[in-house]
């Protein structure tokens, strides 16, 4: 394996050759075509330093954590807990104790819904989500409402795919117990004004959860600035291995929350009569955690810090603007969503070709994009489409990737003409 590249940035812009050389998957050739990876909203490719670090850990440092008092176990625990501290710094959390490792954003939301939600939501209460949520931020709340006799309220969106804040204000009341919204829409790319949404929720005493699965690899997030009570994200969408994610929760909330999954390592004492639980965050980490994945996530955080999120954000914004202007020139192409503030996601349909056929034809060109409802059926229905094609960019994408996408789309149109 080649050594990780040390310096990948020069000044304010990214050195794209260096950035790309960090990601081995980008040199993959499929049936004679170079891989053009534009499905970063689904999952991201991994840089060498993440792969190296996980392999190095498994080869030379592996032991389980928070159990054995032998040296190897202690060192593994230290590495594992160091990642927790790095993440706390990365998102501006108050302390490492506010960082809970989960299997991903989905499990983190389920944890909050089951543990905090079941504790505080009762009959007649209300939970507010938005129309553009991923199913992972709809279903746990819907089931909780059904169980408790509470009501799920939905913030509507306008035709540009932006949340209607005036309508949101009308939904808020003393009955609102939880407000759970996505930071960035995985289907439309809209960046929501979460600071404002959180501040308004606070006025009625509601607790807030922000789904950061689509934001934290693309822009700097800061828990102090956002002000939210819970924030969730997944490692695999930020250049880290799959199988690990994070729940940030404010200490005063985590402290009073009952466990969600129970078992080993989340207790203080166990007798057949009485169990006392460990303090957060370990109370919420039953069983052997995904140790190597957490170590890999630590390396990914290092990668993002060194590369610089402001550079990444600027680069992806340029790609987005280029993608929009390039795709708009294609006849019969309709972009879904036109928010003022948006991240590097473009969802679209072609008049003559169904999204799945587009994906198959692009795939033959080596281009990976997503076709379907993106696990966000309500927002698809809102825009009257059963499915869209979605191209989503990451740090390693280039203007050439967008050109290849446009060429592939023109081919699809020709096949179906």
């Amino acid at each position: 394996m080649p050594k990780p590249v040390d310096t990948i940035t020069t000044g304010n812009s990214l050195d794209m050759d260096k950035v790309r050389s960090e990601f081995p998957m980008l040199s993959k050739v499929i049936r004679g075509k170079k891989l053009i990876y534009l499905d970063n909203a689904a999952t991201t490719q991994k840089p060498w330093r993440v792969i190296h670090r996980a392999i190095q850990f498994e080869t030379d440092e592996y032991a389980t954590v928070r159990r054995g008092s032998y040296r190897l176990g202690e060192e593994a625990t230290e590495s594992y807990e160091n990642v927790r501290s790095e993440i706390a710094k990365f998102i501006g959390a108050g302390s490492p104790e506010e960082i809970v490792f989960t299997s991903g954003a989905t499990q983190a939301i389920n944890l909050v819904a089951h543990s905090y939600g079941r504790k505080v939501v009762g009959e007649g209460d209300e939970i507010i989500i938005s129309h553009m949520e991923h199913h992972a931020n709809i279903i746990p709340w819907k089931l909780l409402c059904d169980e408790k006799g509470a009501t799920l309220k939905v913030i509507p969106v306008n035709d540009k795919g932006e949340l209607l804040l005036d309508e949101y204000k009308k939904l808020l009341s003393y009955k609102t117990k939880i407000v759970a919204v996505t930071h960035v829409s995985n289907a439309l790319g809209t960046v929501n004004p979460v600071e404002k949404i959180v501040a308004l929720a606070k006025e009625v005493g509601a607790v807030t959860l922000v789904d950061g699965a689509q934001s934290c690899a693309h822009m700097r997030v800061n828990m102090f600035n956002l002000g939210c009570d819970f924030f969730v994200f997944s490692g695999h969408k930020m250049y880290a291995p799959s199988g690990v994610g994070v729940l940030f929760g404010k200490s005063e909330l985590l402290d009073v929350m009952p466990p969600y999954v129970t078992g080993g390592e989340m207790i203080k004492t166990v007798t057949f009569d009485k169990i006392t639980f460990a303090d957060p965050p370990h109370r919420f980490e039953a069983g052997t955690p995904p140790v190597s994945q957490v170590i890999g996530l630590g390396a990914a955080i290092g990668y993002l810090n060194d590369t610089g999120l402001s550079r990444i954000e600027r680069h992806e914004k340029q790609l987005l603007n280029y993608a929009i202007s390039t795709l708009k020139k294609i006849q019969g192409l309709r972009i879904i969503g036109d928010a003022e503030n948006r991240a590097g996601v473009v969802s679209f349909t072609l008049d003559a070709v169904h999204p799945h056929d587009v994906v198959t034809i692009l795939s033959e060109e080596g281009i990976a994009v997503r076709g379907g409802h993106h696990c966000a059926q309500p927002i698809m229905r809102r825009f009257g489409v059963p499915a869209t094609v979605r191209a989503s960019v990451g740090v390693y994408n280039t203007f050439e990737d967008i050109d290849a996408l446009a060429d592939g789309l023109k081919k699809a149109i020709r096949v179906f003409a």
Binding site: V353, H356, D357, T360, G371, G372, P386
Partner: protein, 149 residues
């Protein structure tokens, strides 16, 4: 675009553009709604049988990709006039073919449906091709809903 020829052949593109029997049958004795949760495609199959269990009329409505639409369209044209037993046999052979499990002679009975054979190379598209067929079987079995999951 030679590599796409096996999947997107002219016959498939033609059935996608001008699907046959693409309408509802008013008061059909048998009908079923099918959906593919993976992609959100939805279609309805309508059927009427003669007293001696021959498919007198069959049609479909709905939205989907070229593969699912062409498969549904081709299905209606090949099943009209077939007995229930024949229809089920064709379904079995078709299913085997697109899953890549069919032997040479097994596909012979499928006639023009063989045009969809290319789907077997695209594992993510097999469900698109099979949706109409599952929905047809469920209509025969007098269920109201079919899914590819």
């Amino acid at each position: 675009m030679s590599y796409n020829n096996e999947l997107y052949q002219q016959v498939i593109l033609d059935h996608n553009r001008k699907p046959r029997n693409f309408h509802a049958i008013e008061g059909a004795k048998h009908s079923c709604d099918g959906h593919n949760p993976l992609c959100g495609d939805e279609l309805t199959v309508y059927l009427n049988l003669t007293p001696d269990q021959v498919i007198a009329d069959i049609s479909f409505t709905g939205s989907g990709c070229a593969i699912s639409k062409a498969s549904a369209s081709l299905m209606t044209t090949s099943l009209k006039g077939k007995t229930l037993t024949e229809a089920r046999e064709i379904f079995e052979s078709f299913q085997k073919m697109i899953k890549g499990e069919a032997e040479g002679e097994e596909t012979e009975s499928l006639g023009k449906l063989v045009i969809l054979k290319g789907v077997r190379e695209y594992s993510s598209r097999i469900k698109c091709a099979i949706l109409a067929w599952h929905t047809m079987i469920c209509a025969l079995d007098e269920k109201t809903e079919a899914t590819t999951e």
